[in-house]
Symmetry: D2
Amino acid sequence: MPGLMACRAEFGPSQPFKGARISGSLHMTIQTAVLIETLTALGAEVRWCSCNIFSTQDHAAAAIARDSAAVFAWKGETLEEYWWCTERCLDWGVGGGPDLIVDDGGDATLLIHEGVKAEEEFEKSGKVPDPESTDNAEFKIVLTIIRDGLKSDPSKYRKMKERLVGVSEETTTGVKRLYQMQETGALLFPAINVNDSVTKSKFDNLYGCRHSLPDGLMRATDVMIAGKVAVVCGYGDVGKGCAAALKQAGARVIVTEIDPICALQALMEGLQVLTLEDVVSEADIFVTTTGNKDIIMVDHMRKMKNNAIVCNIGHFDNEIDMLGLETYPGVKRITIKPQTDRWVFPETNTGIIVLAEGRLMNLGCATGHPSFVMSCSFTNQVIAQLELWKEKSTGKYEKKVYVLPKHLDEKVAALHLGKLGARLTKLSKSQADYISVPVEGPYKPAHYRY
Amino acid sequence: MPGLMACRAEFGPSQPFKGARISGSLHMTIQTAVLIETLTALGAEVRWCSCNIFSTQDHAAAAIARDSAAVFAWKGETLEEYWWCTERCLDWGVGGGPDLIVDDGGDATLLIHEGVKAEEEFEKSGKVPDPESTDNAEFKIVLTIIRDGLKSDPSKYRKMKERLVGVSEETTTGVKRLYQMQETGALLFPAINVNDSVTKSKFDNLYGCRHSLPDGLMRATDVMIAGKVAVVCGYGDVGKGCAAALKQAGARVIVTEIDPICALQALMEGLQVLTLEDVVSEADIFVTTTGNKDIIMVDHMRKMKNNAIVCNIGHFDNEIDMLGLETYPGVKRITIKPQTDRWVFPETNTGIIVLAEGRLMNLGCATGHPSFVMSCSFTNQVIAQLELWKEKSTGKYEKKVYVLPKHLDEKVAALHLGKLGARLTKLSKSQADYISVPVEGPYKPAHYRY
Amino acid sequence: MPGLMACRAEFGPSQPFKGARISGSLHMTIQTAVLIETLTALGAEVRWCSCNIFSTQDHAAAAIARDSAAVFAWKGETLEEYWWCTERCLDWGVGGGPDLIVDDGGDATLLIHEGVKAEEEFEKSGKVPDPESTDNAEFKIVLTIIRDGLKSDPSKYRKMKERLVGVSEETTTGVKRLYQMQETGALLFPAINVNDSVTKSKFDNLYGCRHSLPDGLMRATDVMIAGKVAVVCGYGDVGKGCAAALKQAGARVIVTEIDPICALQALMEGLQVLTLEDVVSEADIFVTTTGNKDIIMVDHMRKMKNNAIVCNIGHFDNEIDMLGLETYPGVKRITIKPQTDRWVFPETNTGIIVLAEGRLMNLGCATGHPSFVMSCSFTNQVIAQLELWKEKSTGKYEKKVYVLPKHLDEKVAALHLGKLGARLTKLSKSQADYISVPVEGPYKPAHYRY
Amino acid sequence: MPGLMACRAEFGPSQPFKGARISGSLHMTIQTAVLIETLTALGAEVRWCSCNIFSTQDHAAAAIARDSAAVFAWKGETLEEYWWCTERCLDWGVGGGPDLIVDDGGDATLLIHEGVKAEEEFEKSGKVPDPESTDNAEFKIVLTIIRDGLKSDPSKYRKMKERLVGVSEETTTGVKRLYQMQETGALLFPAINVNDSVTKSKFDNLYGCRHSLPDGLMRATDVMIAGKVAVVCGYGDVGKGCAAALKQAGARVIVTEIDPICALQALMEGLQVLTLEDVVSEADIFVTTTGNKDIIMVDHMRKMKNNAIVCNIGHFDNEIDMLGLETYPGVKRITIKPQTDRWVFPETNTGIIVLAEGRLMNLGCATGHPSFVMSCSFTNQVIAQLELWKEKSTGKYEKKVYVLPKHLDEKVAALHLGKLGARLTKLSKSQADYISVPVEGPYKPAHYRY
């Protein structure tokens, strides 16, 4: 992870995070361990939880817990355990919560926002959150935790809010929530959108998934991808990476899309664009990458070929209708090995293979993105956290969502070139003037798409 | 060109361009002919010139001249002829110039801006432009034309400016000029940046060049690309398309880049990133795609292997040091066929093959981008022109540079899907709410990179 | 063409072909010109004709006719002219015919065999060939020529046969005919099957077509391949090259096959395998590569989409049912440009684009295979001709079909490596012993498939 | 494994192997389990051992041992245990050895041939094999086993030989040994070369390794392949599969080759061809695929970058100089996890990662080839065993090496098409006549290379 190593070399001596408490909610893998160790090497105190019930690598968690930080995460948490871990991670005891949050998917941020809302309502009306007010199983748990917390400390989340300098958010789903809160004015502290750094969104989402989708498929099922028909739902960066990996491995890839621009991009790569209904009974492998819900429903799954593989590498497990599957009358679940289940339908006695219970299959069935990609993403995180902390008293960042300035994005990339033997060309002064950029960059306008 | 056909069907009956004079400066090919005919079918009067001395397809120019519009363009113009054509194209006689400009590279826009500047100086100080004040051969000609024009009508360009509703600009180079003028406050009329529509920049630049680079190479030289070492200077959208085409055809591709992010993207595709100096004597094919100047200098060319191929698909011919080559002592130029020259150096008696005299080789040696790609680009142009004309009196567009709103970009894509047999998925209301977009789009935030 | 240059350097001084008359029937292109010049540089006298009515490049033919050999070939021969040329090419006047034949498709060999058969029948029974005895338009002409020849010299072809040392045959179709004649005992002289040298079949057929199929498509139609549906009929080496080129250019490729092994290979590359009937109305581009007849019939063509492109890169024009198309009631042929015809069906008033009148489109619409590939093929030809001539009196070659020994095949490859900057690893003696091959090769058993 | 399932359906009822004893020496994986069960379902009695000390999947071995056959194999055998297993597998007690052998690499066949040689020598001269006569650690063990066996039964291997109907051999290495024995007349029984069925060599070697090389790399090291420099030693079918997989995953691939034809093929795919010495200090990943010995020596390994990955997917572990590495003065071996060792050199204190102790990394670090590929290979095995057994008394097979007739090869392919949704085109009678093949195949001449 050359970027993180470079950060330690550059910033370690000056201990810029001295006095900062950082809470992180992000897959507790060996790569994250290097991130945590980088944060502590720069002077921070750290508490950590995972942002996915299956993604923790227990040996990584154990090593960090031993050497570097408080960790609340293990592979195979229940949803109750998951939210308990999140709450623990945010609770620094005396003096409230963390100064900074590293978030992935926005669950830590959500808990604080929901907590503050409930505390304010409680103060105003005495009303406590009612877990029965929602159908969403996970949100029920969130409300329960907050309700129970109100009894012991009715201003806990507000104290957290007061202390918080800001959050840096890792992924599309979390960023989307942040922009929504910004729009409604509900955002309680500044946020840096790390996801939309080019060196994050284009690297982690695209190249990371291109690596880890086939890895997860092979480890979970040993399926030969060549010759198979694969459906990739969604052709954003994640979908592009997945489709490329499957095509290169010899599959025939069919894409489903709602966005005509992305659909046209798929066509330009020789991929067929159809609806899920068109191909549901013909394909061998189904991958959801949309970041939306209700993509593959139980009614689709019933029509699939025997032993079709269904998996999600988008974000939440609701891309696949797991609830519909679990509650389908007479369905049988046969666990082939952990994270690889065969679900058999009673009518046909045929079954489909669902990976990682519908959650992120690359983390559940393999080891997630490789270190090189995560080094790009996490170097963005470190730089964002440094920026937030440095500017904590300057008012530079309001309660809004920001992206990292382009020269920092370019810096992240530059830190990763040497390891791969690349040699950059240097712009001459007259060339730089000719295209009106500084010799040392940034080289592209903000809207440039790469 | 399904997008243009769809525009005619949708807008033709209402004749929205009735009364509008449109001047276009854009490669006069058969695809442009369809654009011109679309503009006239929507009610416009049109005058046209090419934006490149080699890119005119004479049969296309002739057909348009006969049926649809005044055309000032032929294959193989001199630079003097080129600027004469540009001036003719802008000159509508009585009542000044055009209402709208379709520009590609910004030469029409440049001429007006330089003209206005000279007229104002002349009025103020009596000074006329001095062609000898510049080393740039082409700019000398521009100044000469303006100087000569001052004699007959010292307010010609200012009258043009008064009448002009706006310009829609096709390409990176022209857009860059526009943003510079916007920054210095020099921009004289509103501009729509068509280049940065996704359906333009990602399609024309990337997929268009992926098609037309090998086409130009094969038509000009019949070279077998497989097994060769190819250097692509620049890894923007054009460079990405070129590198992909060369790699797929079996070349070993080496990229040169100044931007660490683009360099890292090249590495992720398995391409080596080096400097030109590192590989100049080893490679067989050199392609410039940077949009900058002074990329391949005569000193590079002298060190190349015998019969190395050197070509430019970026923008201006100054990416390759043609001046240095032409004035190299003792160099011999042997024209193998039009647009394919062998330049022999006296020291070694070996030579290199330069395509299209350093100008755009896909237009000079082949037929440019294929119709499908140009349909995307030109549908953006039509929609931009319609938008400018519709809003001509509303003040919606100030003297600034705008991009097309995303829903129009998505519309351009959607108009091209049916032809390729694609079937889009429809978002449900609850899915649209879940990701906070309208059911009918636009589906992505403005900063989304595709 | 590094292999041919190396042959001249190695063999030129000893003039091994001194006294040899070589007749060649092979596409008269610039690459063939280099072959002819190599043969003459090695001491041979040469006469040449083309083996395809459209493939002659007139400037190449003219240059050879002026400098090196008698040439009977021009672009756009009629079938009568074609066979007249073939007959001329074989006729050396005094002393009968050639000593050696370079054949491509076997037409020169066919004419001699049919001639000898007719002369023997005529001597025996006085019967002359009856052109009306066959439905095949081309064979009618062959019989006519032979019949007319019988009058002036009833032993002409037998004298040719007597003199002939052997033939080296370039292509699958011709080789197939030779093996058939060998089986029935009809073969009149030794033959070397150059087609099945690895450096021919795997290079010319596979890499050559991968280059020249898209080249022909683009030059003839400027079609954008990306996004299109392409059907490749046959997945032998030619089909593999075509499918690879189309897939890489962004088409969705569907293969038709009769051979389950080749079909499984297509599937492993992610290509769909269907019958022509399954996809005839859905695809945009159809390419025949089978070497068989009656692949795309007029009934298929009637069902195609408007402006579907139909072309052949296999061998003879009967892969496409040109006869059925030409005689279809009410069909209209509109020549867009030479070798690019639109055929409009009366029922639908829609049309298809047929390239090169159903003959080899890479030769008819582009310039055939590039020189590097042809250098491999033709170096095999030169080495085969040398071998036949050297052994003319030793009896080493009987009236059978032979392939070149593997060490000569490896030599052809080795002659082409330096040009591409490759550095071979050298086997140590102990490694060579370990795998039981000589240090200097050949390295593979005869049945090795590469 | 559709081919094996089809064999059971077609041949199960007639129990063609009734009375046959089959000994197999072939990686004891779950795929092999299906092969064993197919052989027993067709009536055979079976004993089995693995042909690689690391490749056994213990759960597969256990299941077979419980249900179907005697198994002598476990993951992580010592070399002594390995040969003990091989001997056990061949020993059927009363009545000598097996009727048929399924061999992979030829170790079972070797043991019998060496045994017979020793027994004959012993009978003649009383001399017993001397393990000290060889430097080869493994061959020492073979000689020891045979020497020890001579004491208890000096005609054991000769009795085996008498009973043996034949062997079918799976892989290149084993086949090479067989042809050598055929040449020297040493071959003691008929052999069918299954390796050179197209549906084996082109599928298992090429497509199998294309799947399992990246799988093994990822499982062992989680390395990101994109952006890395990978060296593939050897460009035969295995090397072609590996190079394709690495290139597609985004590595820059460099090939080393001794054979100029294979080298030229690599170049045509855009791969650089250099010697190992040229690139040893620059590359990140090294893969041996040659089937030869002494490819990567300890002197190479010392010069590699820190944490370079070195692995073998060719055949024996002597492709990599494991002996040189293990005995290098001061070298330290750090086992990261089973089959993944870091070897640190004392001079530099940097290390390399060696997978599977230099043995087949796809079997040692992953799960070998996927079932679909193995179904092709093993269907060839079943058909070969059936053929040998059916012809056991007819004398059809002499003490020579045979390949399966092409129509059986095509049959294997056909059995795998349906599963992938392919639809074959049927040849018409007139088409079949035109190309002189039977309507039902075989469709290609024996020398066809696919």
